[in-house]
Amino acid sequence: SAVISQKPSRDICQRGTSLTIQCQVDSQVTMMFWYRQQPGQSLTLIATANQGSEATYESGFVIDKFPISRPNLTFSTLTVSNMSPEDSSIYLCSVQLAGGNSYEQYFGPGTRLTVT
């Protein structure tokens, strides 16, 4: 299994500012992901954080708005840039661990962001 921590756990930010969310894993993992869970909705994948290269973004998400860093196999950051109230959401980091012929994905506790 994997233990994932995220900082901050929650924040209230002003419109137009940026927030960087940190994700730390207790073991080295190949695959790290960033998801968004908007109020009352399901999880939407933002991007896959690749170690040593640029993140791979899903449709509707761009690097300028959500820059991601992945400096090593245990850490990643997601920045929400130039925030607007529509960015209010829970942002989750997750990692994928392989085992045998299957894998499991573990999720962090999330960062609850409110933009005013």
Binding site: T30, L43, E58, L92, S94, Q96, Y103, Q105, F107, P109
Partner: protein, 115 residues
Amino acid sequence: AQSVSQHNHHVILSEAASLELGCNYSYGGTVNLFWYVQYPGQHLQLLLKYFSGDPLVKGIKGFEAEFIKSKFSFNLRKPSVQWSDTAEYFCAVSPGYSSASKIIFGSGTRLSIRP
């Protein structure tokens, strides 16, 4: 594009009632299937998963799910629910051709159990 449908948005049951939450997916190839649970105030946890083999999968806390390939379904069941099962349940799917596949989530089903 792959998608996951959970038809029940909110289910309310009494304790000891039987539970079945529907999940259908759209993807023509091999898939890996998951059910995740999010208890109030807690982070997402894996309930069970299907990769191959027996289509009836048993998970934690007495939950099970059956993969019916012909129906593109992976319904979650529990014969007798408890108040502590109150949570949000998410069905998810990923293509089975790669271990590095992203997971697509359904919209979730909120389960409320009356004590």
